[in-house]
């Protein structure tokens, strides 16, 4: 059936900011969908509040709205654009929820808009637990025992029916938010209460607990003629009880016989049919009781998902792209498999390798929250690796994580008893614990009984550990066969080095001397049954006795450039860098280069097989990058390697590339080092006569204290060579110094720590610039809303600046130019300045693409990463049109935080980055742009109501002005005793409310009663109970979804926004219309 001609314009809904449970996989799916629909001749309208995405690049859709994803905004866009259909299956839960809301509110009917991909009936059949259950029972698919609770008073009856332990899942929430496993009655009631609250429809599901069962997923695609195919089966190594996003998973499933697999295949297809997913991809999850094979269905998602992104990368089958085409009427047999070119998309991919995905966690940033896993997702990113065997795949995945592992590292160096205890717990990095259990001679049976991990995986891990011992005892192998065998198990050179105590480069030399080299195999959807035309590759040391493994890399004779990606997402490094890498690839392709991408993050656009000319799905570590470069240098002309677009990951490799005389494109390692080396950088600033806060660098604890005393408080203490402000602290009091210095040393590993004078109460400015070595282009100057001291990634900022004096802007531009030229920057540079009393201080310089590159690019309408990459490849800046296309629009970036995922964590911001994503508010008026940024980051500001104010003593004077303005805006005020009395002194009305420690009814009670419209709270003070008071207040704010600001400058911006909201109409603008 050919594509539909009755629809012409389609609106695609994006997923909004990166949050835990919804990361760049939806940029990948959305970008694919937009491109596919455009290719088919449809007009594509896109709404997404996330400026860091590739999909919001103005080239991707015909009309791009970087606007909050809410029903009000949607309606405005619909009124303006009049699309014929909405495709809601590409933007995760956010898009599905929006589609459902639009349906419920009659918006779709009003504008005569059809949902394609999944209609509202299918969405609600899948998402409404009661309906889902009934549907599955109708078709005879077994389910866990289960009851739905809509009201808290039903809980006790349900408890009797299900028993304990029980799983509680709120309906319509992301990543199982608000759910959990209840093992005691007390927990049971607590979780139900919380779940009812978190669910937008006040509905939770209570289920028989399947903890310890095996967990599987099937990725299914269906077309309108009812042709169904399975793209991939996925097996979770972590048994049921841990969210699949937090589980180590593999593809394909390895512990099912064909008979069991077919039962699951049939059930997953039957499920799609019954739910009524007419076209597109869905994910169906199953649990199997390992004792008797009983299979139950857990859930299904009638949309593309994190797992479908993984399945796409694992097989080479682009689910989202195909799903988009199916949504407009094609059938699977009409679509081509682009990898083989000769076969259609209507087949089931088969693979000849094993894929392992390992989640990456960030508990260290939320240390007050327990590092345990459960049914609510906690991981912030993931790495995927491909190997010819499970062992190779697993060890490569561990290296890919970039958490410092070189394999099954010994991070659990505890005694046997402790290990046995921990094996029962749901903790991150469980497989490393399993390895340690084997080292402590705990047998497979016992480990299985405690951990419930399938013995098949346990035995594989045991074999890795056995081989570790062998390497330890026998040293670096001296013959090809043995060395090749070790490598085919996946041992990295680094791991072999650690085990043999021989330096990694020596291990590498010996390996290469024996000609033990990786071969590259293709991911081709068909296990080599057909010739493939897309060079999507992974490395393997195929077990071999005769040196004749086949390498399919076949480097070309072309001029080529390698782009090193950003690796797994983490706080501080995410989609922004993937945006830069993709843009570079697109631009360099246009400029006639062959582009070669290296990355290991399955969520990304950069790892799509058609983003670059060639793709290596490999860890971004020395050994693997070295091998790829050597392979590509065999033929053609490798112009260079781009290391400045993927964040800190490739920058860390620059020194290695430099030392091994491998060509770096753009800014050279010497400049990178000059910017990172404190002493040399200080000298440079002195030479350029630029100001910097006093600072020092310490290699030892004593040195650190000495420097601190010399500089004086307040101080910033941090480790060098880390991103996202890890272990960075501001020290106001001498008493805290010792603790923070020690932590910084711990996080720095072997590197020194940095100590700077903290310029407090200063304004911070972020600058992104480009240079070709002669000319410098200052692309964007962003004024932070929060004052200096809060990590730039966590700060809201405005482009252009709202309140920097023009001459200071000129001076910032001058200083930027000076620094770029002095550092011999070729490509990107990011500088952070602080302005205090009209003095400009350089905080830091990074000669690489920054997190704000996509934001500036969108705000100014300039493809900065494209220009930078071409400049790096040798073109002059003067060749490009660098005219600002923002036409006076204000762009406000706001950060989005995962505090709701980490119980007990404080919402207060500091120098360590905590946000997972960002949104952009875009408007002619700053206040409105800021208001939009708050709406988009789920902190929607009120137009009236009661404002609660609680201020630090230092802020109280400023607070009076704030209070006056609030009253002017017709807000009523309330405050804790001290603040209230202070406000009253100035003749304003202000209600007194108890602090938590002063007894009920206190502020948390009032918040729970939903009486507060806005909270302005700038922190507690230092005594312990005041801190805990403040934390309780902020957690309650979060829980009740009350908009809040935690510092004065944000509060003023909020006032500005409220003013705009009250006086102006909220309007939407497409990027293309500016």
């Amino acid at each position: 059936m050919p594509k539909r001609k009755d629809i012409k314009k389609i609106l695609v809904v994006g997923a909004g900011p990166i949050i835990i449970g919804q990361a760049c996989e939806f940029d990948y799916s959305g970008t694919q969908a937009c491109k596919a629909l455009k290719d088919e001749g449809y007009k594509v309208v896109l709404v997404n509040s996330n400026p860091a995405t590739i999909m919001t690049d103005p080239d991707v859709a015909d009309k791009t709205y970087i606007e909050p994803i809410t029903i009000e905004i949607l309606e405005k866009i619909l009124r303006k654009e009049k699309p014929d259909a909405i495709l809601p299956t590409m933007g995760g839960q956010t898009a599905l929820n929006l589609a459902m809301e639009a349906e419920k509110k009659g918006v779709l009917k009003k504008y005569k808009i059809e949902l394609i991909g999944a209609n509202s009936k299918a969405i609600s059949n899948a998402e409404d637990r009661k309906k889902f259950r009934k549907n599955m029972m109708d078709i005879g698919i077994d389910l866990p025992k289960s009851k739905v609770v809509n009201k808290f008073n039903q809980a006790s009856k349900v408890l009797k029916q299900i028993g304990l332990p029980a799983i509680i899942r709120p309906a319509f929430t992301l990543g199982g938010l608000g759910g959990g496993i209840a093992k005691t009655k007390k927990d049971f009631y607590k979780i139900i209460k919380n779940g009812l609250h978190e669910s937008p429809v006040s509905q939770v599901l209570v289920e028989e607990c399947l903890e310890g069962w095996k967990e599987f997923e099937m990725e299914v695609v269906r077309d309108k003629k009812d042709n169904c195919i399975i793209i991939c089966s996925i097996e979770n190594i972590d048994p049921m009880g841990i969210h699949t996003g937090d589980s180590v998973t593999i593809a394909p499933a390895l512990t099912l016989t064909d008979k069991e697999y077919q039962v699951m295949r049939n059930a997953s297809i039957a499920c799609l049919r019954k739910i009524g997913v007419e076209t597109g991809g869905s994910n169906v999850q199953f649990a199997i009781n390992p004792k008797n094979g009983r299979m139950v269905i857990i859930e299904m998602n009638p949309r593309v998902s994190r797992s479908s992104a993984l399945a796409s990368k694992a097989t080479g089958f682009p689910i989202a792209k195909i799903a988009a085409k199916l949504a407009v009427g094609y059938t699977l047999d009409e679509l081509k498999n682009e990898i083989t070119k000769v076969t259609p998309a209507s087949f089931e991919p088969t693979i000849d390798y094993v894929v392992t995905k390992i989640p990456r966690f960030t508990f260290e940033k939320f240390s007050t929250s327990p590092a345990t896993l459960g049914t609510s997702m906690k991981s912030v990113g993931e790495a995927m690796a491909i190997g010819r065997s499970f062992k190779e795949s697993l060890q490569k995945a561990l290296v890919s994580l970039e958490t410092g592992y070189s394999g099954l590292d010994r991070v659990f160096n505890v005694n046997k008893k402790e290990i046995e205890k921990k094996l029962r717990e749901n903790i991150p990095n469980k497989l490393l614990l399993v390895a340690e259990a084997f080292r402590k001679k705990i047998n497979i049976k016992r480990i299985h009984n405690l951990s419930k991990i399938d013995p098949w995986f346990l035995e594989q891990i045991k074999e890795i550990v056995d081989n570790e011992n062998k390497i330890k005892n026998k040293g670096v192998p001296r013959d090809f066969i043995e060395f090749n065998r070790i490598k085919s198990i996946g041992f990295s050179d680094k791991k072999i080095s650690e085990l043999t105590k021989i330096p990694e480069n020596v291990v590498r030399k010996r390996r290469m001397a024996l000609k033990v080299l990786p071969v590259y195999k293709k991911v081709d959807t068909c296990a080599a049954e057909f010739k493939s035309f897309t060079p999507y590759m992974y490395s393997s040391y195929q077990r071999n006795f005769s040196l004749n493994s086949e390498c399919e890399a076949e480097p070309t004779q072309k001029k080529k450039i390698i782009i090193l990606g950003g690796g797994p997402n983490r706080i501080g490094q995410g989609i922004e860098f993937d945006y830069c890498c993709c843009q570079a690839s697109f631009a360099l392709k246009d400029a006639g280069f062959e582009t070669i991408m290296v990355n290991c993050n399955p969520e990304t656009v950069s790892t799509d097989y058609d983003t670059s000319d060639r793709l290596y799905f490999e860890p971004l570590k020395e050994e693997y990058v070295f091998n790829i470069i050597k392979k590509e240098q065999e033929k053609g002309n490798l112009i260079g390697v781009i290391a400045q677009f993927g964040g800190q990951t490739p920058i860390k490799l620059a020194e290695f590339l430099y030392q091994n005389k491998l060509p770096i494109l753009g800014t050279q390692y010497t400049s990178i080092d000059l910017a990172e080396d404190r002493d040399r950088f200080r000298n440079l600033l002195n030479k350029l006569k630029l100001k910097q806060a006093e600072s020092g660098i310490a290699k030892t604890y004593n040195q650190a204290i000495k420097i601190a005393d010399k500089i004086g408080l307040p101080l910033i203490v941090r480790p060098s060579y880390v991103l996202g402000g890890r272990a960075m602290e501001i020290v106001y009091e001498r008493n805290d110094l010792k603790k923070f210095v020690e932590e910084a040393f711990k996080a720095a590993e072997d590197n020194p720590i940095l100590i700077d004078k903290f310029i407090n109460q200063a304004m911070e400015v972020d600058v992104d610039a480009l240079s070709d070595g002669k000319d410098v282009f200052v692309a964007g100057i962003m004024q932070h809303i929060e004052e200096a001291g809060i990590h730039s990634g966590d700060s809201a900022c405005s482009l252009p600046p709202v309140s920097i004096k023009p001459y200071l802007i000129k001076e910032i531009e001058n200083q930027t130019r000076k620094l770029a030229l002095a550092l011999k920057v070729k490509g990107f540079m990011n500088i952070q300045f602080a302005i205090k009393k009209d003095q400009i201080y350089v905080i830091e310089v990074n000669p690489r693409a920054s997190r704000t590159v996509p934001f500036v690019s969108k705000a100014k309408g300039l493809p900065l990463a494209k220009i930078a990459s071409r400049v790096m490849a040798g073109e002059k800046l003067s060749k490009f049109n660098l005219k600002d296309k923002s036409k006076g629009m204000y762009a406000v970036k706001e950060a989005v935080f995962p505090f709701n995922k980490f119980p007990n964590s404080d919402l207060l911001l500091g120098p360590e980055m905590k946000s997972t994503g960002e949104v952009m508010g875009f408007d002619k008026n700053f206040g409105m742009a800021f208001a939009k940024s708050q709406i988009a980051s789920a902190n929607s500001l009120p137009k009236n109501g009661i404002a609660f104010i609680s201020l630090k003593d230092a802020h109280k004077d400023e607070g009076i002005d704030l209070a006056k303005q609030l009253i002017k805006l017709k807000f009523k005020l309330c405050a804790t005793k001290g603040t209230a009395e202070y406000i009253r002194k100035f003749g304003m009305k202000c209600k007194k409310i108890n602090k938590v420690s002063s007894g009920t009814p206190h502020i948390v009670d009032v918040l729970d009663a939903k009486k507060i419209a806005l909270v302005i709270n700038t922190g507690g003070g230092n005594s312990e109970h005041r801190v805990s008071d403040a934390i309780a207040l902020r957690r309650a704010t979060l829980k009740n979804k009350v908009p809040y600001c935690t510092n004065m400058s944000t509060a003023y911006a909020c006032l500005e926004a409220i003013k705009s909201l009250k006086t102006k109409k909220l309007e939407v603008t497409a990027l293309q219309n500016i």
Binding site: K259, R294, D333, T343, D352, W456
Partner: protein, 398 residues
């Protein structure tokens, strides 16, 4: 659960080179020997299925063949007493990329290596199976020999000799080797169910005579599902013997070898059955033989279809089925008789996957609707056969 797996058989395979694979072009792959110690020659083909190795190895259609599995981990779920498709294993040898691991599955009964030994199948692992697959894809399925010896010493010339001297599958009638020697009545087991395993069918509404060219048990199980009594007869059973059994329908089974060779005696029998208006259903070799009987031609394919992911277009209802396939010969499009309709085609290469007679209840498919292993999208074909039987029964032929 996993306790059932016999641990004694999961002995670590030696790291020493103890196996060798030699192709007819003298290419030598060294590896680790698995399974039975010995030497076996056959046509080297590859199978791309991710699951179902026990079913695949025990499929009689692989007689005379060495199977190169493209998926690297084979043996992870062990073997059991339910998942074999024939009581005797006809596959010549197996090639796995990675060493066989200890099994883990609640139904596992025996380590795959032990199962191979028990069934006297030689095998080799620790070699670049993808390289071999690429070779087969580009050059066609070669003759090859696997030799396994603990000593690791091989007389390569002798092995090459043995390989080149073998005549290959072309013109080889293997059906007569793998077929049952005597008529037998299928015990009535139905297809496998997760909760109950194999259960017996007690109702016998129709009588199907299945001509055994190398039949897979799962075909018989499906007939039981559809309440049939099945008599399995040898591949050379005469028309008279077959019709004396008073069948309601005739089934032409799958099997190994060259259809043209088997056709020498099978075609006449099938033609008679068609003439007498029996409802006929053929699968795989049975499909090819039916084609020959109707006047079509067959040929040897370059590499054949072997896997569980093959898309087939059904022209009757315009849909796509994902099918399980295992064949190295096929009916050619040229010179098809007019009364023959193509019902199914491969979406991989456009080859004929299904035919039917326009005026008689006779049809066949090249692929395996009985799956095992593979998707179960095409079970409807059994229903169609039964429908034909029902319609035909009304005509009262006897």
């Amino acid at each position: 659960m996993i306790k059932k797996a016999k641990k004694t058989n999961s002995k670590k395979i030696s790291d020493k080179q103890s196996g060798i694979l030699v192709l007819e072009n003298r290419q030598v792959f060294k590896g680790i020997g698995i399974g039975y110690q010995g030497t076996a020659t056959g046509e080297v083909c590859f199978n791309t299925s991710l699951t179902g190795y026990q079913e695949i190895i025990s499929d009689p259609s692989y007689a005379g063949q060495i199977i190169n599995f493209t998926f690297p981990h084979i043996g992870n779920v062990g073997t059991n007493n339910e998942d074999h498709e024939s009581d005797k294993i006809w596959t010549k040898g197996v090639i796995f990329n990675s060493e066989i691991t200890s099994p883990s599955n609640y139904r596992s009964f025996l380590h795959l290596d032990a199962w191979l030994k028990k069934n006297k199948i030689v095998g080799i692992t620790g070699l670049d199976t993808r390289n071999l697959t690429n070779f087969i894809r580009d050059k066609g399925a070669p003759k090859g020999t696997i030799s396994v010896s603990k000593t690791g010493k091989f007389n390569i010339n002798k092995i090459i000799n043995q390989t080149t001297k073998w005549s290959g599958l072309k013109n080889l009638d293997l059906a007569k080797e793998v077929t049952t020697k005597k008529n037998y009545l299928w015990k009535g087991f139905k297809t496998w169910k997760k909760q109950t395993g194999y259960q017996k069918n007690k109702q016998k509404s129709f009588h199907v005579v299945a001509i055994d060219y190398g039949i897979k048990k799962n075909i018989l199980r499906y007939f039981s599902d559809f309440k049939c009594k099945v008599t399995v007869v040898p591949c050379n059973a005469s028309y008279e013997k077959i019709s004396s059994l008073k069948p309601d329908g005739i089934f032409l089974s799958n099997g190994p070898g060259d259809p043209a060779a088997t056709g020498k005696y099978a075609i006449g029998i099938i033609r008679n059955l068609i003439k007498k208006n029996f409802p006929i259903f053929g699968i795989c070799l049975g499909h090819q033989l039916l084609g020959l009987a109707l006047g079509a031609k067959t040929k040897k394919m370059k590499l054949g279809h072997r896997g569980a992911n093959h898309p087939v277009k059904n022209f009757i209802n315009d849909s796509v089925e994902i099918t399980s396939q295992n064949h190295g010969f096929e009916i050619v499009k040229e010179g098809l008789p007019r009364n023959l309709e193509i019902t199914h085609k491969s979406l991989f290469d456009g080859g004929i996957e299904g035919i039917r007679l326009k005026n008689k209840p006779v049809f066949s498919v090249q692929y395996h609707p009985e799956s095992n292993p593979g998707p179960q999208d095409s079970v409807y074909l059994f229903q169609e056969f039964i429908n034909n039987i029902k319609k035909n029964a009304k005509k009262k032929r006897y």
